[in-house]
Symmetry: C2
Subunit: 373 residues, 2 copies
């Protein structure tokens, strides 16, 4: 193979490629990536990498002198290419599996691996399909992924559940057992079996989110019960879906929370940070004391001190108090973008809804904490 | 004690205080700091913290309602104060050693410690004295500290040696045994015994450098053989000096290196980064092959590949080659600010001088590396 590429485009492609590559090094072959010329396209080459679960395929323009394919260490190439300065990068392989990369006066020789040893990623035609604007996809990911579980304790919660509503919108849902986040988004185009419900793994959503602007304006999401593909512009991600059943969260979303408290989002975040800053625990318990017009926040009373704060609140009912992990509240406040937010409570023991004051499409439910101080 | 402070000033003072505070927590008392009102000054309070080696004393304006002193956890107060938003912070202590901090609607109660238990920092009148502009002090630190040793293997090299030259300039010198850095700087005012030579510890220089802009325009450095003080504006650092003798480096600085190579600093740095990027070793060995007009750089030839690069060089002599740890070269190139630098070599085995093409005050010496490829 012998090709010439634009350095800047190469560098940004390698960054995407490299973040999909498996860092654990338990399977050395997965530290590589593949460049191949395409049979029916003489002006583009295809880059691909995979960690078995998630794959990325990216096409970029190239001058092709000699078609072929190479498989080479992703991190080494990325580390070196990002230091190069000239406009064009020339890549040539020999039959002895040496790769020569030249750029300006710099010349680099690297060993490579038989392409046949590397797991190939094949994009498929899949039955279910959603076309969504990139901006909507970003917010669907941002507004749900934070509530998905991060450890391996419950694999079926380590991602976001995608399904369709009865009125042909997409429903994105995540939960870690203590809180849930849900956003309902209408899309340009939707073909999903009413019964179909899939769990998209965390890593895939993180990478898709990171590279989202490269899709262009819209993303086509296709899937079946095993795999999902995100395609747009010159790039495609393909991921395995999480096997297993996502729990039915509908019974957890309260329908009769009749205590409604309106607070300024920024003031609330700020007070939560002040009041929780004294706690050394990760989840930082905090007590909210709600009375007409006022939301009072209190930290735990501990050996190392205590903090209280007060902010204005739109509330007219009876006083009551409720405890939360401040971290959970801050996570939700961080993804909502309206000036004010609404807390919908029932009592100190029942799940509370947090939502934007202006946008009905999103809601988060947080289980309260028993506060004993 | 009862005082009111400006929040922004408090926050920046606490940041300084907190970075001096001992993080190792082997001596719990050192996680605190002290605020005290001053006997002869009713409009300022004094903040101080120490880790026994290094102390910081900073004076800031305050409204004082009730004089006194408190000793309280530095990190807790810093973490909370940085989240506060109102303009003024009110601090009050009770006889039961509770500290109440209020700011706007936020109220905070913290336990404190008897001030008497905390090691007091007393600024002294010391015999030797140097007055130096803050900009010069910054560059003296930047241009030497990088070459000081970072581990505990040789305590007398864990800092920068300050002495005076015969023509009444200051000499700043550091070495880790593989390289040295020296800057000669004339100062506004200098009273140093010709024989006096002190070793300033790394942590003191790092903190002084970080807070340097707070000294104002000039810093007064006073010292004897045990301690050194840096004073300017409202702040003073006091540090113990490193005991022991700094090695005599004069014999190591070559006098007869007659091969002079002029290279563009940025091109050289860039090539070093390219060529060393393939190495996984920390110090990244690199070979320089110098011939008329050209500097060629070669990485080690290893299993994982090799890289070469070439840049223009002002050199007219015979070809020769010499090896270095790229990390050491990059460190020096990072502190020099001229467009071009000069390498002064003798042969492949002898120490090489690296200096600016425009400024004679600084030089660095690096021991070459035996390259066997």
């Amino acid at each position: 193979m012998e090709i010439t590429l634009k350095r800047e485009a190469l560098s940004s492609t390698l960054q995407n490629i490299n973040s999909v590559v498996d860092k654990s090094s338990t399977k050395p072959i997965l530290s590589n990536f593949v460049i191949r010329t395409l049979e029916d396209d003489s002006s583009n080459v295809e880059f691909s990498s995979t960690d078995y679960e998630l794959s990325l395929v990216e096409v970029m323009p190239a001058q092709i002198k000699d078609p072929g394919s190479i498989c080479v260490n992703a991190k080494k190439v990325f580390d070196i290419v990002k230091e190069l300065k000239d406009d064009e990068v020339h890549i040539r392989s020999t039959e002895q599996l040496w790769i020569y990369i030249t750029c300006g006066s710099s010349e680099l020789r690297l060993p490579s691996v038989e392409v046949g040893l590397y797991p190939q990623t094949v994009l498929e035609k899949l039955p279910e399909s959603v076309t969504i604007s990139v901006e909507d996809l970003k917010s669907c990911i941002d507004m749900t992924l934070f509530a998905a579980i991060t450890n391996e304790s419950r694999r079926n919660l380590m991602g976001v559940c995608l399904s369709s509503t009865s009125d042909q919108q997409t429903r994105w849902l995540s939960t870690d057992g203590h809180r849930l986040a849900q956003i309902i988004k209408s899309v340009d185009d939707l073909i999903i079996d009413a019964e179909q419900e899939v769990i998209i793994p965390r890593k895939a959503l993180t990478e898709v989110r990171r590279a989202a602007d490269m899709f262009g304006k819209t993303v086509n999401i296709t899937f079946d019960s095993r795999v999902m593909q995100f395609s747009g512009g010159q790039i495609s991600f393909k991921t395995r879906l999480i096997e297993g059943k996502f729990p039915n969260c509908d019974p957890i979303i309260p329908k009769d929370n009749n205590l409604e408290i309106l607070v300024n989002r920024e003031n609330f975040s700020n007070s939560l940070r002040i009041v929780s800053s004294i706690s050394s625990e990760k989840l930082r318990p905090v007590k909210l004391i709600i009375s007409a017009g006022v939301l009072r926040l209190e930290s735990e009373k501990a050996d190392y001190g205590e903090v209280v704060d007060e902010i204005e609140a739109g509330y007219e009912g009876e006083s009551f108090q409720i405890g939360f992990n401040a971290r959970y509240l801050l996570d939700v406040l961080g993804v909502i973008d309206s000036d004010d937010i609404i807390l919908e409570c029932k009592n100190s023991m029942s799940p509370t809804i947090i939502k934007s004051s202006t946008d009905e499409s999103f809601l988060s439910v947080i289980m309260p904490l028993r506060v004993e101080w």
